[in-house]
């Protein structure tokens, strides 16, 4: 019943999943920044094409890639429509709806498409990052970016127990469904409340049990983490090459004479 994330692909073994997560995050962020700063649609679209191809080559089913991209697609459509009608400029099209006169402008359309391409480009990078890096590795890498340990500890617990709680919630919801808990509006409202309440009490019970188990293994109020390994030399060198290339591409595309 949940569209919970599939971290199945991120846990597979391949060249990209083996790469240090810091490297991947730095690359992803710099790509996203370039996309957002770009004023031409070509750069975001190239980035998107590259990311989607990588995902398909890695063997992620096209259906899943498509499902992930469909939400941003609809945002893009909405964005383009809104921008088309909300910028001033040369009108190319006008409609009367319910007696109102709406003016679509060239400038608006262009701007909308540009914003839309940014969304698509940036989201593709993000999906790719999520498909090759499991959440726990990202959390650990965040320590390197100076995110406090407390945050990481909470994040790891949330990530770990989300799956367990989701399974239990599915079971409860199915039991409710099988006893017709959602057959009337009133019934549904109270069933949803009970379901949410069950999840919360379950999670609190689980918290106490988990805490006991942690105590038994020497927990004293803070999780100890493994020191982050040094970034592999090849990868830091790789970054030194790739980052300037991304920057150069951006500059070239951005200042390419019309």
């Amino acid at each position: 019943m949940f569209d919970l994330f599939l971290d199945f692909f991120a846990n597979r073994e391949n060249r990209l999943t083996r790469m240090d997560s810091r490297t991947k995050m730095i690359m992803a962020l710099s790509l996203i920044f370039t996309v957002i700063l770009s004023t031409k649609i070509i750069l975001p679209l190239i980035v998107m094409a590259v990311c989607v191809s990588i995902m398909l080559i890695m063997g992620i089913p096209p259906k899943i890639v498509f499902l992930r991209l469909i939400a941003p697609m609809s945002i893009v459509v909405a964005l383009v429509v809104v921008q088309t009608f909300s910028l001033n400029g040369t009108s190319f099209f006008s409609v009367s709806l319910f007696g109102f006169h709406l003016v679509a402008t060239h400038e608006g359309l262009t701007h909308g498409i540009m914003l839309g391409s940014r969304v698509l480009g940036a989201i593709s990078v993000m999906i790719l990052l999520g498909s090759v890096t499991p959440a726990h590795k990202i959390f650990h890498a965040l320590r390197w970016f100076k995110v406090p340990d407390t945050w990481v500890e909470i994040a790891l617990l949330i990530y770990r127990y989300t799956f367990t709680l989701a399974d239990q919630t599915t079971d409860v919801a199915e039991a409710q469904k099988l006893r017709l808990g959602y057959s009337s509006v009133r019934g549904s409202l109270s069933s949803i409340g009970v379901l949410a309440g069950t999840v919360i009490t379950r999670s609190m019970d689980q918290a106490m049990r988990t805490y006991e188990a942690m105590t038994l293994r020497g927990y004293d109020g803070a999780m100890r983490f493994e020191a982050l390994p040094k970034m592999p030399k090849t990868e830091s060198m790789g970054l030194l090459v790739v980052l300037p290339v991304i920057m150069a591409t951006y500059c070239v595309v951005e200042w390419w004479p019309k």
Binding site: F2, F5, D7, F33, I36, R68, L69, A71, P72, M73, S74, I75, V77, A78, V81, V82, Q83, S86, F98, L102, L115, I123, M126, I127, L129, G130, T133, P148, T150, W151, E153, I154, A155, L156, L157, I158, Y161, T162, L165, A166, T169, L189, I192, G193, V194, A196, G197, T198, V199, I200, T201, S203, M204, A207, M208, Y211, M214, T215, Y219, G221
Partner: protein
């Protein structure tokens, strides 16, 4: 020119959203929408709240070592709830509750901000809801606005002597609406282009009304139901969070 033509357009846009996707996507500001400046600004705006939450968390867990496990698990629970599809009568699709109102009245608003930040990062990376550069903005609308509005109204209602069921209901409703108002505000700031800010803001706000008003009320029922459930089955757990300086 009045607001109305724009509203019609925006309604069209939202209908498209409603047909092709779940309204939840509207609640998270998608990656790529905010220009760099705005993204940074909202990061800076929500940072103090996250820091405050982490500080509260650290102080509490020094006294009560089980506190972090509790927060982590309640966080996981709320995250799971926020992934629960619930039908929205008007839009004819399913949407997801935010759960921040519930989280805020259970674990306090500042810690609820921390929990939302984790949930939002997970959703961005693995579900493509929201984004990395828009994370700050989303933490602000969902975490900060949602938590503090929900918690505020809850405390207010309790002070006024209303029953906790009503208080929890209003907390759910208002946290949802506060989130959506803030989201609209942030979106307007980034997108209003040549239209006036307020005109655009009201437009976006109105455009979301058909989905967000019922959704907020649903979220109210969810919070009230869940809070009552915990209150009747495990009252001792509410005590864990009620004391101490989380509020």
């Amino acid at each position: 020119m009045s607001y109305l033509p724009l509203t019609v357009v925006a309604l069209m846009a939202v209908t498209i959203l409603g047909i092709t996707a779940e309204p939840v996507y509207a609640m998270h500001i998608s990656e790529g929408i905010l220009p760099m400046g705005w993204a940074v600004l909202w990061f800076l705006a929500s940072l103090p709240f996250v820091v405050l939450g982490l500080r509260n968390l650290r102080i509490r867990s020094e006294k009560e070592p089980h506190f972090k496990a509790m927060v982590g698990l309640v966080g996981a629970g709320v995250f799971v709830i926020s992934c629960m599809p619930i039908p929205v009568p008007v839009a004819g699709t399913c949407s997801h509750p935010c759960g921040t109102g519930l989280a805020a009245i259970l674990i306090g608003p500042s810690i609820s901000v921390v929990v939302s930040s984790v949930a939002l990062l997970l959703q961005a990376l693995f579900l493509a809801h929201g984004g990395l550069t828009t994370l700050g903005a989303n933490i602000f609308s969902m975490g900060v606005a949602g938590s503090f509005a929900g918690y505020g109204i809850f405390v207010l209602c309790r002070r006024m002597g209303l029953s906790f069921i009503v208080a929890a209901f209003l907390a759910g409703v208002l946290s949802d609406w506060a989130t959506y108002a803030t989201t609209s505000f942030i979106l307007t700031g980034a997108l209003h282009a040549d239209t006036s800010f307020w005109k655009m803001f009201v437009t976006i706000l109105l455009a979301f009304v058909p989905t967000q008003v019922p959704l907020g009320i649903l979220e109210g029922f969810l919070s009230a139901g869940a809070y009552t459930f915990v209150h009747s089955r495990r009252p001792e757990y509410l005590g864990i969070f009620a004391k101490g300086g989380v509020a």
